[in-house]
Amino acid sequence: MRSKEVIHQIVSASEFGVIQKKLSPWEAVYQISALRKAAILIVLALIWEFYARSVNNALMFPTFSSTMEAFYTGLMSGSLIVKAWTSIEVLLMGYAAGIALAGLFTVIAINSRIGTDLLETMTAMFNPLPAIAILPMAMIWFGLGVQSLVFVLIHSVLWAVALNTHSGFISVSNTLRMVGRNYGLRGFGYVGKILIPAAFPSILTGLKVGWAFAWRTLIAAELIFGVSSGQGGLGWFIYENKNLMDIPNVFAGLFSVIFIGLIVENLIFRTIETRTLRKWGMLN
């Protein structure tokens, strides 16, 4: 019964229209992650506004609108911008130095067994140690200036970045390593052209974590130990306004910290990620 062969003609794709339905406008808008996030931010701001109005105590919890007002005034008078820039300047110094040192440590670590042990031991010891805890000592060693802030920033960046970079290097697949060596690459060429791009997902994570640590450390340091080198940063701005009981300005300071954090995360790191890892398919 079934012994007969049956061979069908295949209909070529051009003979039927490919079925493709456009998304409805609502679905299309929902696809854009920036819009979804913006919606979340608006909802949060609304909740803030309504809650603050119900509390109705500007000293305890100012409204979103009064915070925005203080933020706007601060921006216009330039005082917030100057304070923020003071913070960012110190931050960038510490961040850059921390990354450079982390690079150095990792290069030592991948080149020798003892270097690996050194890095592992050092990160195990110092990563859990809060940077703020060593600030009093740093101030005794380096004085009440930028140096001691940079020192604690290095401490907060170095171990996070080194740890992530190193684990990224370790997890580079053996095949890719062999491919690199097949081309005759060795030394710095091998690290720069094979290991660093291949470990880039971990490195970028390290940079993000390092950034967040540095930012927190700096604001906390400024809050606790106040002004350094004559001009305070955002932490000092918050502290100062708390003493003056100018709570909307305290919130404006906090808002600036959040705002800068959001910009760095969503513009800088996100752009790097889109242009590298997402394009390369290295992000799941």
Binding site: T175, N182, G189, P197, F200, M282
Partner: protein, 265 residues
């Protein structure tokens, strides 16, 4: 390429390979001999654990023999180099941060074979050979497994190495793609007559791809036989089936039985 035809292109002479794991020293191959001539499609065939991949890596220069010597064009192999291009089984052998064209060009440029425009032309020439010209600007993660392997082959061939080392390049592909890739590889060989050392665990693939087949038995890998394959137009004939049966018997009928019989006699 070789001035003196009496010198084989690749000479593997009495090679014993050992490597260390955490608590063992493992002998992967024991005194293996073979010679690969210009334009050979030389296949190393054996089941897993026969050290065929380790042997290929030693030819690649990733592993030094504890005994014996590997010579390429009469010169002992010391370390990896672009004169022996590897094609791996793993799909992740392409650099994910480079496009298809950049992957091939990167090999040419870093090894110093070609620069700039010349590298680009050479890369495109081989990408066209593996029918991927349309995908030259794609990143590897957008390609299928078979396409990735074709890029890896194009990359290996574009370097025009003395010998192409292929480590089970089709093993991770589905059966249909695999057959297609085997045919394509043979077409490429017809085109450029490159020399290839090909590792596989499939008897069928060995007969199809190779003109010479080296059979390795496991634990540790030792040469069981070196055979000539059948002509390419005889692949579906009784001759090929007979060869397949012989190879199967040599690899899988336990030698120990016959040996014990002999020793008791």
């Amino acid at each position: 390429m070789i001035e003196d035809p009496s010198i084989p292109l690749l000479d593997v002479n009495g090679v014993t390979l050992q490597y260390k794991t955490r608590d063992h020293l493992i002998t992967a191959t024991y005194r293996v001999n073979f010679e690969v001539l210009q334009s050979d499609r030389f296949v190393l065939l054996g089941s897993s654990g026969c050290g065929k991949s380790t042997l290929l890596k030693a030819v690649g220069g990733y592993l030094a023999p504890t005994e014996g010597e590997i010579r390429l064009k009469g010169v002992p192999v010391r370390g990896p180099g672009p004169d022996r291009m590897m094609v791996f089984q793993e799909f992740d052998q392409l650099l994910p941060w480079k496009t298809v064209k950049q992957n091939v060009m990167f090999a040419l440029e870093t090894s110093g074979k070609h620069k700039g425009r010349a590298a680009e032309d050479k890369a495109m020439q081989y990408i066209e050979k593996v029918n991927l010209a349309k995908f030259a600007d794609n990143y590897p993660h957008t390609l299928s497994g078979g396409m990735k392997q074709r890029v890896a082959i194009a990359r290996g061939m574009a370097m025009e190495p003395d010998i192409l080392l292929m480590d089970e390049p089709f093993a991770a592909l589905d059966a249909l793609t695999r057959r297609k890739m085997q045919d394509e590889l043979l077409d490429l060989w017809d085109d450029t007559k490159f020399t290839v050392l090909f590792v596989t665990h499939s008897i069928e693939e060995a007969i199809k791809i190779g003109n010479r087949i080296l059979l390795l038995t496991p634990h540790p890998g030792q040469v069981r036989a070196e055979l000539s394959s059948v002509a390419r137009d005889c692949l579906l004939t009784d001759e090929a089936r007979e060869l397949e049966r012989r190879i199967h018997n040599m690899l899988f009928v336990p030698e120990t039985e016959t040996e014990t019989e002999v020793s008791h006699a």
